[in-house]
Symmetry: C2
Subunit: 89 residues, 2 copies
Amino acid sequence: MPVFTILVYDVGEKRVARVLKTARKYLHWVQNSVLEGEITDANLKRLKEELKKISKEEEDSFIFYTFRTERYYSREIYGIKKGGHDMFL
Amino acid sequence: MPVFTILVYDVGEKRVARVLKTARKYLHWVQNSVLEGEITDANLKRLKEELKKISKEEEDSFIFYTFRTERYYSREIYGIKKGGHDMFL
């Protein structure tokens, strides 16, 4: 069962492009350093491994928020919508 | 009942400090442009109103993720931990 995941990251300038490119294979870009989307556990594992390979653990920071159900979840945007895909609000 | 909320924002350079200062009254800073924490509906409303007053709707972007239950929620950090407070992982 896919889980809803929000990834936020704060990485060194030199690694930002590669991190974004890797994360975009699995999640939707919604805002500066923020991606989200439905992802299977297997792909979430793959994403984490790929990010580990291209990042510096002592400098970079990633937070994965995962939610097993969307029933209790809501998402509200204020201001300009940056991400491309349309999510049910 | 407080809800768990994640706030991510992408705002104009001139407004970053004020936005962060306002958001920190209600949530914990965890990473560049990311705050989180338990917040009552009333305070969430206040936070949104205060942010609206100090931001430019046509330039700035805020996303509020709110979760009514933490039962299905998990949070995992990889790399350096930036935020100050300790959250159950």
